[in-house]
């Protein structure tokens, strides 16, 4: 069933209105005038070259896991484990880059590949459990997030600690291994281009390939898909593996592009926020890019808002949660109005 273009335009608009209203309330409660709060937010995210750079860094960090989540959701699988997949991918990339000497170009390629392998492996565990043992992927991906958190912490503190590490982090990558900077004098690397390329590939996958058709069929009508000879278990592990691999490449680009080392704290919950991003983007790869930019503004501006307007950054997460609730509810409203219209014909 195609959703109407009006409904599609209403989603981002609704999100923006909710954000403005709720943030105004949060700012008033925190004792700041909304005008000051929003100007701090905008100035902190779009007010200059380095601010825009930081916004795009956050955009990139959110875009990878959001695309991975969108892929899994489209296939009817709730991958809540992007956080862990991103972390494992980042760890493999950081452990390799911080300890191995190779020609730089090759090293960068291997780091990105290791990111995909780490994240893909973490997704594949849940995929295998779902396909072979019918274990609920929601719970397994959630559990794997915590396992990833503690296992990476253990591996880093036990074996991979960098020589000048502050906190649990690996050795720095040699600067020849760093992804090239995209905008000079900012932290933004070309990682974001990789993310956009993946978005385009996903769009192609969904609209132009048999695999994409099968994925969507499995998500929208699994019984019909099965009866038409589509191998559902294969699609299950494949889509969770791919989903994890995309999040894992994201982890590797954070390591190779911005942090230049692996740190166990490198994600402030990107994998969870990405669920909101994927939903706001309607699980459509190209719209997810726009949604990531939007949330990138919130993430980067939120820090500035906290510093200069004394509005806690956590406000942003409350609002993201409310957006998830409201946007998912909007689907129901849209469906109901369709039903009413159909009835009136």
């Amino acid at each position: 069933m195609r959703r109407r273009s009006l409904g599609n335009a209403a989603a981002p608009l609704a999100a923006v209105i909710i954000i403005i209203v709720l943030m105004s309330i949060a700012m008033l409660v925190a004792g700041t005038s909304p005008l000051d709060g929003f100007s701090a937010l905008i100035a902190g995210s779009l007010g200059g070259r380095s601010q825009i750079g930081e916004t795009l860094v956050a955009t990139s960090a959110l875009l990878f896991p959001s695309l991975g989540i969108a892929l899994a959701f489209r296939a009817g699988l709730f991958n809540i484990g992007a956080e862990g997949q991103l972390l494992v991918g980042a760890l493999l990339a950081g452990a390799f880059g911080g300890s191995v000497t190779l020609p730089p170009f090759l090293a960068i390629i291997i780091m990105l590949a290791l990111g995909a392998i780490g994240g893909g492996l973490w997704g594949a565990i849940a995929g295998w459990m779902k396909a072979k043992l019918r274990a609920n992927e929601i719970i397994s991906t959630l559990m794997l997030n915590f396992v990833a958190q503690y296992v990476t912490l253990w591996l880093v503190t036990q074996w991979l600690m960098g020589p000048a590490a502050i906190g649990a982090e690996t050795a720095w990558l040699p600067n020849t291994y760093w992804l090239p900077t995209l905008i000079p004098h900012t932290r933004l690397s070309i990682g974001i281009l990789i993310a956009i390329a993946i978005a385009v590939l996903l769009q192609f996958l969904f609209t132009r390939t048999v695999l994409g058709y099968e994925l969507r069929a499995a998500g929208e009508a699994p019984e019909a898909a099965r009866r038409n000879g589509i191998n559902l278990p294969r699609l299950t592990w494949l889509s969770l593996t791919l989903s994890g691999a995309i999040a894992g490449i994201g982890g590797a680009t954070i390591v190779a592009g911005e942090l230049h080392r692996f740190n166990t704290q490198l994600s402030p919950g990107y994998g969870y926020v990405a669920i909101a991003v994927a939903l706001v983007g309607d699980l459509d790869p190209l719209k997810v890019c726009v949604a990531s930019f939007f949330f990138g503004i919130l993430e980067a501006g939120g820090l500035a808002m906290q510093a200069s307007a004394q509005v806690p950054k956590d406000t942003i997460h409350v609002i993201e949660g409310i957006i998830i609730l409201v946007l998912a509810a909007r689907r129901y409203v849209a469906q109901r109005s369709e039903r009413v219209e159909a009835g009136s014909l």
Partner: protein, 306 residues
């Protein structure tokens, strides 16, 4: 300490200390798992348990701090869990929001809201100030405080109570019927959504109680991330316990044992890495999930909106 020789000495002492620690670590998971059982038996998968626990823990800490009374904190935890549970229930019944999506939304709202509240109310990020506990006096020989003891016992009593309610009362029958076949409930002239609402609100109250246990039973503050995935582990316990109150309680105790083992082993065997051991409860939940799911059956309408 004196007069508790059997608890302190030798092998028996070690085992007793592990059992006691297991009970304390199990209790919050038991509460959340009971909440998960009642919710799923009515047909609602409650991924929001984690956030509901955080809401309960935060409310308990705030109320206990501002009124200097642990029992007020306990009530506040229950009420906060039920209130957020009401929002979740509305979303998944009246507005037919996808249950998993709504649950993740609730988790973000609760953890973010608590973090925001810490800055507003305690003027410090990360953790609250120290708050009064439910009852901080140590129980002789048991290595836990009076509040923990009361809440541990209450957890198991509630498990039995929920068993009786679900299997021995008309209301329980209707809740279970709603989870299996809401249309049949509707055909009988009852409103299945009402049972789902009530079941989810009860689920919130139970998870809130579990959160309160963490904040003012076991500890004496709220800190960000203190629920540490217990709400999610509880979901695994629900499956492992085959959607029954007593089964889920047993499963919660098993996961509690693994959490206790992590501290207990670290205390006995110093060379084992504590960070790797911290992953134990989650690995246990994964293995349990992998081992048991092909062979159990969820309520037929679990996760299906009506």
């Amino acid at each position: 300490m004196s007069g508790c020789g059997f608890v302190e000495s030798g092998f028996v002492g070690l085992v007793v200390s592990l059992v006691l620690l297991t009970l304390v670590k199990s209790a919050p998971i038991v509460y959340a798992a009971l909440g998960g059982v009642i919710s799923e038996r009515s047909g609602v998968i409650n991924i929001g348990l984690e956030g509901l626990m955080a809401a309960g823990a935060f409310a308990a800490a705030v109320a206990s701090y501002s009124l200097h009374a642990g029992w007020v904190g306990l009530l506040a935890g229950i009420v906060a869990g039920a209130a957020v549970g009401y929002v979740f229930a509305l979303a998944v019944t009246k507005f037919k929001v996808d249950q998993v999506v709504a649950g993740m939304g609730i988790n973000l709202i609760c953890s973010g809201g608590a973090a925001y509240g810490l800055v507003l109310l305690f003027n410090q990020p990360g953790a609250s100030k120290t708050v009064p506990q439910l009852a901080s006096a140590n129980v002789r020989c048991l290595n836990m405080n009076a509040g923990e003891l009361v809440l541990v016992v209450l957890a198991f009593l509630l498990a039995i109570a929920l068993h009786v309610v679900l299997y021995r009362t008309p209301w329980g029958l209707r809740v279970r019927a709603t989870g299996e076949n809401p249309l049949a409930v509707k055909s009988a002239g009852l409103n299945p959504l009402r049972f789902r609402m009530l079941a989810v609100i009860t689920s919130g109250a139970l998870a809130g109680l579990g959160g309160a246990f963490l904040a003012i039973g076991e500890l004496n503050l709220y800190s960000d991330g203190m629920t540490a995935g217990r709400g999610f582990i509880a979901l695994a316990a629900v499956i492992f316990g085959r959607w029954t109150p007593l089964g889920a309680t047993g499963a919660a105790v098993v996961f509690g044992l693994f959490e206790a083992l992590q501290y207990w082993i670290a205390g006995q065997v110093a060379w084992l890495p504590a960070d790797a051991l911290a992953a134990l409860p989650y690995v246990a939940a994964l293995v349990a999930l992998a081992g048991v799911t092909g062979r159990v059956r969820a309520p037929a309408a679990d996760g299906v909106p009506f």
